[in-house]
């Protein structure tokens, strides 16, 4: 009964999405307040129904109800409870249901928090949101229905793909989808503005928090996915330029650009048309990502769905939404009023530069991702565009952007003074220079490039801190005053500084890992030792371990420091999942400070030894910590009171906030 209730709720959700995509829109066109008002309750009810459907599917997984085909295909009664639950979205149908759930969630959020939006804007936004919802609900129900039943029901499931049985996977897709789908709100706002033919002042204020929220989740999702690939796949790499990774990275680049152009739009009413285009492009790239991953056009480690009918359906959605919105843009952009003017050297100018670099970078990644598909489609040859292409194109594009980041927040609006800003950044520059010299002197065999890379990371971190120091006037006023000023700064200033600092931390981690990583592949027998990066790794021995649904051979190692002291123990394993007879590698990771030792097992040799791959990865955790800092930065910025828009009626007395901000 639970399963069928879920199925029925999902069908009802589609009916409501259809209502939502038409009724408020008609209301907005005819200026009928009652029709427009249906958007809110319908969006909330749609979310509730999709939630019921999703909960029913999770329940079916938890109870191992193998009368549901989707559960039978992807679960197993012997699986640990956590992975039964996460298995719900570890497969195509379930993950698409999650996608739709998050989409309706954002629609409901707009409905709930959008009370102070102009009614026509709100109605149009909800209608556009309804179009997307209806398209994807139809997709789920007709091509990827997770509620298809089996009669008679089998007694045992076929297990979840073992590489997907992992905590990282429990968090990675929901975060990623919150990011992907969050941009749908920006898209809906953009299309709503185009339908109306005007951009309200509230528009810009509204787009920025949604962009921030989506960007925050997407950042977390990408960082999580990267760490998952790092420790689960056993190759020790953190980024592979895999098309699926690129699929999430492109919306991130475009979303970052959108985030920055929305600032200009909010503050200065400039770049309106460009911001609308970016909002459309960002969500289009999200849709493209969904298409690439879900249609099965790629064959990579992530490819776990292959069915041409699905691919064609998503492609149709893609063409409809991207083509439709761009056509609308071409039609209406001319009628939108352009905004304020600014001098090229100013905060606006810096943000435009940032946009140029980021969109070019996104385009580069797009070419690198789609070109192999295109070649395969036309000539049938399978080629791969790997790291060399991206290192040659993406790297040089990012370099100047990273160098310029510290300048941006320090420049004044409208008209800026580069020399004054450069002067204020002297301390940060000095610090970066010191870092370069220290790297060259202290690290053995450090190349000039590696040292410069470290310098860039330090430059970004110090530059971000300089912004805070300057704005709190630390050093020129007494410490207590400076501290009070620092606390009193708008949250968005803190957010900016933290985000740029996080970026610097990530750059530092990437450079350190790429430049100073040590790799060692050898054959070891129990009791033997090998040297890695000035430390000694001793192989203690192997032992068989029986897990709940797998058996593994676990090898234990002890890491000894240069002086012979024990630094820690690490175990690495080769696992076989019994139901699918599928082997996996469980890498052993030992974290020391920000650095990690990574041990991965290969095949055993004839004479009782085993192939062991060992990496020493200095400062590698900074890569993901930086991502975490960026997420925190976005959260801090989201709490800024200025991102909320007042409604006309409620505006009678709003004098209460300044006192609150001081506290």
């Amino acid at each position: 009964m639970i399963v069928e209730t879920g199925h029925f709720a999902l069908v009802l959700a589609l009916a409501l999405a259809l209502v939502q995509s038409l009724v408020p829109l008609v209301g907005a066109r005819t200026n009928d307040a009652r029709l427009m008002a249906t958007g809110g309750p319908v969006a909330v009810a749609g979310f509730a129904l999709t939630g019921i459907a999703f909960a029913a599917l999770v329940m079916a997984y938890v109870q191992s109800d193998f009368s549901v085909a989707n559960v039978w295909e992807n679960s197993h009664s012997a699986k640990p409870m956590l992975y039964k639950v996460t298995g719900t979205w570890g497969n195509h149908e379930g993950s698409m249901l999650l996608w739709v759930l998050i989409l309706t969630f954002f629609g409901a959020l707009v409905a709930v928090f959008g009370g102070n939006l102009p009614a026509t804007l709100r109605a149009n936004v909800l209608s556009v949101q309804g179009w997307i919802g209806a398209a994807f609900l139809l997709f789920v129900l007709t091509t990827s229905n997770p509620f298809i039943r089996l009669e008679p029901a089998p007694f045992e499931g076929r297990d979840l793909n073992p590489i997907l049985q992992d905590v990282g996977l429990a968090i990675h897709p929901p975060l990623l989808y919150l990011g992907y789908v969050g941009f749908s709100v920006c898209f809906s706002f953009a299309v709503a503005a185009l339908i109306d033919g005007r951009i309200d002042a509230a528009w810009a204020r509204w787009v920025r928090p949604w962009t921030l929220a989506a960007w925050m989740f997407l950042t977390g999702g990408i960082a999580m996915g990267s760490y998952w690939a790092y420790y689960e796949l056993g190759w020790g790499g953190f980024w592979f330029w895999d098309p699926v990774e690129n699929a999430s990275f492109m919306p991130w680049l475009a979303g970052t650009a959108l985030l920055h152009s929305a600032i200009v739009m909010e503050k200065r009413s400039a770049l309106k048309i460009w911001t609308i285009l970016l909002a459309i492009l960002t969500f289009s790239l999200s849709l493209l990502g969904t298409f690439l991953v879900r249609s099965g056009v790629l064959t990579s480690v992530h490819a776990f769905a292959t069915d041409p009918t699905r691919g064609v359906f998503i492609l149709a959605i893609l063409v409809l939404f991207i083509g439709g919105s761009l056509a609308l843009f071409a039609l209406r952009a001319g009628s939108l009023t352009a905004g304020g003017l600014f001098h090229p050297i100013s905060r606006e100018g810096a943000l435009v530069l940032n946009n140029l670099f980021l969109t070019t970078a996104a385009a580069t990644v797009l070419v690198g991702t789609l070109y192999p598909l295109l070649v395969e489609a036309v000539t049938g040859d399978k080629i791969s565009v790997g790291a060399p292409f991206f290192n040659l194109t993406f790297g040089p594009l990012m370099l100047p952007l990273l160098l310029l980041i510290p300048f941006g927040p320090l420049l004044a609006w409208k008209r800026g003074d580069v020399y004054a800003v450069a002067q204020r950044l002297m301390a940060a520059f000095g610090g970066a220079l010191l870092a370069v010299l220290a790297t060259l002197l202290l690290a053995d065999g450090a190349s000039v490039f590696a040292a410069l890379g470290v310098g860039i990371g330090v430059w970004m971190i110090l530059g971000a801190l300089t912004d805070l120091v300057q704005k709190s006037a630390l050093g020129t006023v007494p410490l207590a005053v400076a501290a009070r000023r620092l606390a009193g700064l708008p949250r968005s200033v803190h957010g900016t500084a933290l985000a740029h600092l996080g970026m610097g931390v990530t750059v530092l981690g990437i450079v350190a890992t790429l430049a100073f990583e040590a790799e060692h592949i050898t054959i070891m027998k129990p009791g033997e030792s090998t040297a890695i990066a000035g430390r000694t790794l001793r192989f203690e021995g192997v032992s068989p371990v029986q897990g709940p649904n797998f058996t593994e051979t676990r090898a234990s190692f002890v890491l000894l420091g240069a002086g012979g002291g024990k630094l820690g123990e690490v175990t690495s394993a080769k696992r076989v999942y019994t139901a699918r007879q599928m082997p996996t590698t469980e890498a052993g990771i030992l974290t020391l400070g920000f650095s990690q030792l990574y041990v991965s097992l290969g095949d055993p040799t004839q004479d009782g030894g085993i192939v062991v791959r060992i990496w020493w990865k200095p400062l590698v955790t900074l890569i993901w910590l930086g991502g975490l800092v960026m997420m925190v930065a976005a959260a801090v910025s989201l709490t800024d009171r200025r991102l909320r828009v007042g409604a006309p009626a409620r505006r009678a007395k709003a004098a209460s906030s300044p006192a609150g901000a001081k506290a």
Binding site: L12, L18, G488, V645, G646
Partner: protein, 378 residues
């Protein structure tokens, strides 16, 4: 029934979400311009705060204030968007259609896609249901679930093994018998069951491994009818029809009058006699009694020559008429007995080619070869 109530309630809730906003009277559309002014007022407030905090200089603040003021002035020049009332018919039609669409689309699509009559089947509930109502498959699953958490329960394996065999899962059956034998000891019934499961797994051929099991069963209980029956079948499969018939006859003599084995044994004897009669006429190479007697009185060399002549005769016959699985089995066995492993292997290859190694006959030949220690050369 409960499902229909829940479905009706859900439909009602969904319809209400559409209907309620439509039923509110005199809802007035707000004017977008007011919202814009509100935003600009907020911006002015922020500007003041920034200026007070010293984040921007007084001159810049003044300039920004003027800019926001200009935006507000600009608004005053615009018209209120689309205040003109249109005929109220369209909204009413759209509203009514929307309210109707929810149940129609919902129930219509669900009727197409759903399986409303199929109850949910959580695994635990299914395993705990009254065993009397369980199907065989469910009982097996319950036993499996029990044994996977208590793998040392010999009695469980003992019960499950014959059920597996009956449902055609001979490999699982053999494994279950082995577990039962390991945990409870090798009784004649269990050993014979293992032999039976192994024979089923080999497509009915009593392989060397199965023969071992049956022999052990007989060691535990010399008059065990199942073991004796299968061992005799093994003889028959190797072409020793007369020996097999004799073994069956002996078995029949010892069986009580009401034994269920009497029927099968009698059938087997009849079949063996029919086949040996059929074999003796066309396929001369099976030695007659006279030939055997003659062979007994020969010198060793002569005897070998006679046997080799018979074998090559059989070989020649099979080249002309290759669809004779009994013949191939006899030929392969003869070569092995004569110590001509290469020729045996070559005959096996030819036999498999002629019979098609995937067929039932091919499998019989393969398992015979395996029991003789001949690896297939494929």
């Amino acid at each position: 029934m409960l499902f229909w109530i829940v479905a009706a309630l859900l439909t009602l809730a969904a319809s209400l979400a559409v209907m309620l906003p439509l039923s509110v009277k005199n809802r007035q559309a707000d004017i977008a311009r007011d919202h814009d002014i509100e935003v600009y007022r907020d911006q002015l407030g922020e500007l003041d705060k920034d200026a007070a905090r010293g984040l921007i200089g007084p001159a810049e603040a003044e300039e920004a204030r003027a800019e926001i003021g200009r935006r507000i002035l600009k608004l005053a020049g615009t018209k209120d968007g689309g205040g003109a009332d249109r005929p109220a018919r369209l909204p009413r039609v759209v509203g009514a259609a929307a309210v109707l669409a929810v149940p129609i689309v919902g129930w219509g699509l669900y009727a197409e896609l759903g399986s409303p009559l199929l109850p949910g089947q959580p695994l635990n509930a299914r395993l705990q249901a009254d065993p009397a109502e369980n199907t065989m498959e469910e009982l097996v699953a319950r036993a499996e679930a029990h044994l996977s958490s208590n793998p040392e329960d010999g009695r469980g394996w003992d019960v499950l093994a014959p059920i597996y065999l009956r449902t055609g899962r001979s490999e699982d059956s053999a494994a279950a018998y082995r577990n039962a034998i390991r945990l409870l000891g090798g009784s004649a019934d269990r050993l014979a069951g293992l032999g039976e499961a192994l024979s089923y797994g080999a497509g009915g051929v009593v392989t060397a491994e199965a023969q071992d099991a049956f022999k052990q069963a007989l060691a535990a209980q010399p008059d065990h009818p199942k073991s004796r029956f299968y061992l005799a079948s093994g003889l028959a499969q190797e072409g020793k029809l007369q020996e097999a018939a004799a073994a069956w006859q002996a078995l029949l003599g010892g069986l009580p009058a009401d034994s269920p084995w009497r029927g099968p044994v009698q059938e087997a004897i009849t079949e063996a006699n029919r086949r040996s009669a059929a074999v003796q006429k066309p396929a001369g190479p099976v030695p007659t009694q006279e030939e055997m007697d003659a062979a007994a009185s020969m010198t060793a060399d002569d005897r070998t020559a006679m046997i080799e002549q018979m074998v090559s005769g059989l070989d020649a016959k099979l080249r002309e008429n290759p669809k004779d699985v009994e013949g191939w089995m006899r030929l392969v066995r003869s070569y092995v007995v004569l110590g001509k492993a290469d020729q045996a292997r070559e005959a096996l290859g030819r036999g498999l080619a002629a019979l098609d190694s995937g067929s039932e006959d091919g499998k019989r030949l393969t398992s015979l070869a395996a029991s003789l220690g001949l690896a297939s050369t494929e």
